[in-house]
C-alpha cells in the first residue's frame, strides 16, 4: 500500500470557513473556481478582490487574499482606483446582477470601455438574493418575484439585460464570455473562462469579464435540483452561453 494521494482539497486561496450561502446556491461553486485559478496562476499574494453589496458581500470571509468591500454597484470604480495606483497587482470584482446590471451599470460599462485591466466575475442569478427576491434587470420574462408578483411584464420592465452581449459591443479590446455552473460540464467550461480572464489580466492584455449564470434556489422557490433545471431551461436559451469577445480576435470593421 502506497501513501494516500490527495485528489481534492480546499484551494489555498479559500479560507477554512463555514459558508453562509443557502443550500444549493452556486455562489460557492464560483468562489471555488476563482480560488483554484488564483492558486494555479500563483496570483493569491498579489490579488485584491472587491466584494459587492449582495449575498456575496461577505466574500472576504471565504477568499484568502486582500479584499475591499464596495458600495452597491461601485466595485468597478474601486477596482479602477486600485489598479491605477497598483498596476502590477491582480484586481477582480465579484458582483451580482442588482449590483452590476442595475445600480452599477454606468460603472461597469465605463470601466470596460476604458479598458481597465482588471477582471469582473458577474454572477447573474436573475433576482435580488440578499434583499429577499425582488426583480432584477436580469429577471426572466414572466418570472415571479416579490416586486413583480404577476411575473415580469416586459412591456413595463423591459427585457432581461444581456450584459455580456452589451459589453461585447464596445470597440475597446476586452475578453467577454458567458458561462453557467449548473452542471459539471458547465462548471468545467466556467473554470476555463475564469482562468482565461485572469490570464489576460496577468498578461496586462485587457479588461476581462465573465458572466456566470447562477442559481438562487431560496428566492426562486425551488429545490437545488429544480433550480439547476430552471436555469438550463429558462435562462440558458435567453442568455446565450459562449465567448462574446476576445482580444485575440480583432473587431470586425
Amino acid at each position: 500500500m502506497g501513501e494516500p494521494i490527495t485528489i481534492f482539497k480546499r484551494p489555498a486561496s479559500l479560507r477554512d470557513a463555514f459558508t453562509h450561502y443557502c443550500p444549493g446556491c452556486t455562489h460557492g461553486v464560483i468562489h471555488r473556481l476563482i480560488a483554484e485559478t488564483l492558486d494555479e496562476l500563483g496570483l493569491r499574494e498579489r490579488t485584491i478582490g472587491i466584494a459587492p453589496v449582495g449575498c456575496s458581500v461577505l466574500a472576504y470571509n471565504y477568499f484568502y487574499c486582500d479584499f475591499q468591500e464596495a458600495a452597491h454597484g461601485r466595485a468597478p470604480a474601486l477596482a479602477t482606483g486600485i489598479k491605477r495606483v497598483l498596476p502590477d497587482r491582480i484586481v477582480f470584482t465579484y458582483q451580482g446582477d442588482g449590483d452590476l446590471a442595475s445600480i452599477g451599470t454606468a460603472e461597469i460599462v465605463h470601466a470596460a470601455n476604458r479598458g481597465e485591466k482588471f477582471t469582473t466575475i458577474f454572477v447573474n442569478n436573475a433576482i435580488y438574493g440578499m434583499t429577499g427576491g425582488q426583480m432584477a434587470p436580469t429577471t426572466m420574462p414572466n418570472q415571479v418575484t416579490t416586486t413583480c408578483p404577476r411575473g415580469r411584464d416586459v412591456n413595463l420592465a423591459g427585457w432581461p439585460l444581456p450584459v455580456a452581449d452589451l459589453l461585447a459591443q464596445l470597440r475597446t479590446p476586452s475578453y467577454v464570455e458567458r458561462v453557467a455552473v449548473h452542471t459539471p460540464r458547465h462548471i468545467i467550461q466556467a473554470k476555463r473562462a475564469i482562468r482565461q480572464a485572469f490570464q489576460y489580466q496577468a498578461e496586462r492584455r485587457c479588461y476581462s469579464f465573465v458572466e456566470v449564470l447562477s442559481t438562487c434556489p431560496t428566492n426562486w422557490g425551488k429545490t437545488p435540483a429544480e433550480a439547476c433545471q430552471w436555469l438550463d431551461e429558462v435562462m440558458v436559451p435567453y442568455f446565450k452561453l459562449g465567448l462574446k469577445k476576445s482580444p485575440d480576435r480583432p473587431p470586425v470593421e
Partner: protein
C-alpha cells in the same frame, strides 16, 4: 522661487502635487474644472495618476479604491458634484481612509448657477452623506492660504485617517493672485502597511470594509470616530482675528472670500472711527466656538454680525457658540452675488445705531 501669479484652481492642482498626491480622480464641473485641466497635464509629468471618471459617483469611489490601496489621493468638484460624492464620502469616512476633497462651491440649490456661493457650508460641516461621520473642513480666503491649507489637508487626512475637505467659493477657484511655493513640501506619509490592500505576500490578508453587522462592534467604531472628532476639536481649531484688540463695538464673523470683503468694510469703518473687528473661522469643522465666544463676550462688543454668501448657514454655528449672550445679526447674499463693501459698511452703521439709511 519667486512668487507666481496663479489662478486659484491651478494653484490647488500644484499644491496637491507639492503635497505628494499620487492620484487624482475627477469629473468636470464649473467653476473648478481648471483643476482637472491643470492636472491632466501635470500628473503624468510627476508620475501620478489622472483619471477623468464617468461621474462624480465613480470618481469618488475610485478615491476609495486608491486610498484603500495605500495611495495619497484627492478629488475636486463643485456643489452638484459634491452631492454625488456624498455616497463615497460616507464610505471613505467609515473605512477610515485618508483622502482630500475640495469643493469650489457654486450657487444653488439644484443646478443653481455657476457663480460663487457659500451655500454648501452645512453639507460640508454637518455631514452630507449618511451615517455618523464628520469631515475635517477648512475654509481658505486667499489663494496663498488655499495652497497652504491644501498641503495641510493631506497632512491632516493622514493624521486622523479621516477625509478632509477644503471649501472655497467660486472666487477662490477663479481669482488670480501671487502665490509662493517656497519651502512648501509634502507632509510625511502615513504608514499604511498595516491595513492597505496591496496583496498579502508575507502577511495575513487585509480587508477594508464598512459592513459591521454586530451592533457592539459598530458602536465601538462609532465611538472611536467620535474620539477622533473630539481630538480635532482640541487640536485643529484655526481662526484669524482682525482689529479685535481695541475694544470693538461690533464683531463681524465671516469666512472665505466673504471675509475679504468684510475686511475692506472694516477698514473703511475704522477710517470713519467706527470700531468694528472681524473674526474669521479657518477651520469650520471643528468650529472655533470658544475663541469666537471669547471675542464676542469682550464687554465693548454690543452685537455680532454674521456675513455669508448664503441665507444663513455658518450662522447656526455662531449662534451655538454665542449661547444667546450677545445680540446676533445676519447679512447674506445669494444667487451668486458677492456682498459689496458699501452694503456691509451701511449694515454695520445701521446696527450700531449711527447709520445713514438701513437696508
Amino acid at each position: 522661487m519667486a512668487k507666481k501669479l496663479m489662478k486659484g484652481n491651478e494653484a490647488i492642482g500644484e499644491a496637491a502635487i507639492v503635497a505628494g498626491a499620487q492620484a487624482y480622480f475627477c469629473y468636470p464641473i464649473t467653476p473648478q474644472t481648471e483643476v482637472a485641466e491643470y492636472l491632466a497635464k501635470r500628473m503624468p509629468e510627476v508620475g501620478g495618476v489622472f483619471v477623468q471618471a464617468e461621474s462624480e459617483l465613480a470618481a469618488s469611489q475610485m478615491i476609495f479604491g486608491a486610498a484603500a490601496a495605500g495611495a495619497r489621493v484627492f478629488t475636486t468638484s463643485s456643489s452638484p458634484g459634491i452631492s454625488l460624492m456624498s455616497e463615497a464620502m460616507s464610505y471613505i469616512a467609515a473605512a477610515e481612509l485618508p483622502a482630500v476633497f475640495i469643493n469650489i462651491i457654486r450657487c444653488g440649490p439644484g443646478l443653481g448657477g455657476i457663480l460663487p456661493s457659500q451655500g454648501d457650508y452645512l453639507q460640508a460641516t454637518k455631514g452630507g452623506g449618511h451615517g455618523d461621520y464628520r469631515f475635517l473642513v477648512l475654509a481658505p480666503s486667499t489663494i496663498q492660504e488655499t495652497v497652504d491649507l491644501t498641503i495641510e489637508a493631506f497632512r491632516l487626512a493622514d493624521k486622523y485617517r479621516n477625509p478632509v475637505m477644503l471649501i472655497g467659493d467660486g472666487l477662490i477657484g477663479q481669482m488670480m493672485e501671487p502665490v509662493d511655493f517656497e519651502g512648501r513640501t509634502a507632509p510625511p506619509r502615513l504608514d499604511t502597511s498595516g491595513w492597505a490592500t496591496t496583496g498579502c505576500a508575507g502577511r495575513e490578508p487585509h480587508i477594508v470594509k464598512t459592513l459591521f453587522l454586530d451592533p457592539n462592534v459598530l458602536e465601538q467604531r462609532n465611538r472611536k470616530m467620535r474620539d477622533k472628532y473630539e481630538q480635532m476639536k482640541r487640536e485643529e481649531v484655526r481662526f484669524e482675528t482682525y482689529l479685535c484688540d481695541d475694544a470693538p463695538e461690533l464683531l463681524v464673523a465671516a469666512y472665505g472670500t466673504t471675509a475679504r470683503v468684510v475686511r475692506t468694510a472694516v477698514d473703511r469703518l475704522r477710517e470713519e472711527g467706527v470700531k468694528v473687528g472681524m473674526f474669521r473661522p479657518i477651520s469650520v469643522f471643528p468650529f472655533p466656538d470658544e475663541p469666537l465666544r471669547q471675542q464676542a463676550l469682550v464687554p465693548s462688543v454690543k452685537a455680532v454680525l454674521v456675513v455669508e454668501m448664503s441665507m444663513g448657514q455658518m450662522l447656526e454655528d455662531v449662534e451655538r457658540a454665542l449661547q444667546g449672550r450677545r445680540p446676533l445679526h445676519f447679512f447674506g447674499r445669494g444667487g451668486g452675488n458677492v456682498p459689496a463693501p458699501e452694503e456691509l459698511v451701511r449694515e454695520c452703521r445701521r446696527l450700531l445705531g449711527n447709520g445713514q439709511g438701513g437696508r
